[in-house]
Amino acid sequence: VPVTEHLGPTGLDADVAVEQLYAAHWRRLVRLSVLLVHDQAVAEDVVQDAFVAMHGKWSRLRDPDKALAYLRQAVVNRSRSALRHRVVVERHARSATVGDATVAGPSVGGARRDAVRSALLRLSDRQREVLVLRHYLDWSEAQIADALGISPGAVKTHAQRGSAALRELLGEWWEDES
């Protein structure tokens, strides 16, 4: 179906917008969320929900750029709440079952990847978000400040403290550049 058939006076149709944005950004948005929530299945849920929400708000967005901005914001916000929810669930699980939990270890090749994702989880929400937006999405401090609703000065502070903490947490993974 030619895209133009969906162009009405208000621009793209919501369904077409979802398909186009999915094709262009699904993978990258899931990866963004993985850095924020650690777990891939949770990240996919988060981004799927963000797309569904974006579809519902299309009449207000009406523009692929705005929709992408909305998606990124939704992924950051929803990742934060998914993480909080999961922390609560995991805390419950830990206190409910004593000693019988087994956690699959990372493969040797993925060990550094896993170390990085785990280290990210131990940062504060803001430090993690600032580092990921700055270094994974390559956003400017002003863009991050706007997206997170914090001042550019606060972005700088979180970035500095987050970087230092990450370096500390990663130890030899940080030093070994192989």
């Binding site: 797309f51 550019p152 990450l166």
Partner: protein, 344 residues
């Protein structure tokens, strides 16, 4: 150091190959295809027969409350509909109790007319009535559609005098809020300053002017907005969103056995505010829709209230959406929404 983090994050993320969720997303959005954007144009036509409509028009005196939660066990302040609202103010009279009172905190959100203020309610405890409001102003709003510009911004607030004769003084943390940050336009900066003014005026329940201070005294500008003199609140219809939901709260759990009342304030063409409930998570569908009469013309927001019967609505996550009317057909609606969870 910076490059090392970039490399590590890309290595950690770029190995991830996401599964395909396009079909799941299509399924979840499929139902809206049938109703489409037409709802916005269709106005207040009820799609599902649903219950009582209570229209509150200010000035009729009464606030017929259909079914409200017991204030003792409900977190919802619902001050606009339960209390008579003094005409000249947009601020709701807080519902008071022994532990404190609810106050409105204003956050920035988007409307077709640019950024405007929306409000959420917070519980404030005596004796320090400012600290909870400042805490709220400095932290993220409950509703992810809103934002605040005042993280770690305010050192101290004081209010001297009585009512509008008093002066609210706000001392900011340091000079970092003086100039307008890159990427923030003038309108947004002005709205952000109004965010502080409206929130603090709500706390003191008076339209008292606000003086911004730094350590040394009055500060000449905040976010690039001139602040040498005390500032007044902007005109309501130029500053606030034209619809703002008070009840339910974001994320509220609602029992479908109880009549469900949506309350808020608005100003709309012919007073029409339309509220609908949409199902989320899985299938998006409209389960109920009701019009209400708020008000129009004057420079203020009028309370509105609608009640839904949810007894046939299955448990799940829903979106409550209230919007203004637009007689021009250009669909320039002001909209506010809340996510709720309906339970049996």
């Amino acid at each position: 150091m910076s490059e090392r983090i970039t490399d590590l994050l890309h290595e950690a993320a770029d190995g991830v190959e996401p599964g395909d969720r396009l079909d799941a997303i299509r399924a979840a959005t499929a139902r809206t295809r049938r109703t489409g954007p037409g709802w916005w144009a269709a106005g207040g036509v009820g799609l599902v027969a649903a219950s009582v409509v209570v229209a509150l028009v200010l000035g009729t005196g009464g606030s017929p409350r259909v079914a409200g939660p017991d204030p003792a066990d409900s977190p919802s302040p619902s001050p606009t509909a339960t209390d008579p609202v003094p005409a000249p103010t947009v601020h709701p009279v807080p519902s008071e109790s022994a532990d404190g009172a609810a106050t409105a905190v204003y956050y920035v959100g988007e409307t077709p007319d640019g950024p405007r203020l929306f409000r959420e309610f917070r519980w404030i405890q005596a004796p320090d009535r400012f600290s909870a409001a400042i805490d709220a102003l400095e932290s993220d709003p409950t509703d992810p559609d809103y934002r605040t510009y005042w993280h770690r911004a305010v050192d101290d607030v004081s209010f001297d005098g009585v009512g509008a004769d008093g002066l609210i003084q706000v001392r900011l943390v340091d000079g970092s809020f003086r100039s307008r940050p890159a990427g923030m336009d003038e309108v947004t900066a002005w709205i952000a300053v109004q965010q502080v003014i409206y929130t603090l005026q709500a706390v003191v329940q008076a339209r008292a002017p606000v003086q911004f201070l730094s350590a040394g005294g009055p500060v000449d500008q905040v976010l690039g907005v001139a602040t040498s003199e005390p500032l007044a609140a902007g005109e309501v219809l130029e500053t606030l969103a034209h619809v703002s939901i008070s009840d339910p709260l974001e994320g509220q759990v609602v029992d479908n056995d109880e009549p469900f009342t949506v309350r808020g304030v608005g100003n709309s063409f012919e007073g029409n505010i339309v509220t609908r409930i949409e199902r989320l998570s899985g299938v998006v569908e409209v389960v109920a829709e009701e019009p209400a009469i708020a008000g129009t013309y004057e420079d203020r927001l009028f309370p509105f209230e609608v009640t839904f019967d949810l007894t046939t609505v299955p448990p799940g996550d829903y979106l409550v959406i209230s919007r203004t009317d637009d007689p021009t057909g250009a669909e320039r609606f002001h909209v506010d929404d809340r996510r709720i969870t309906i339970v049996d």
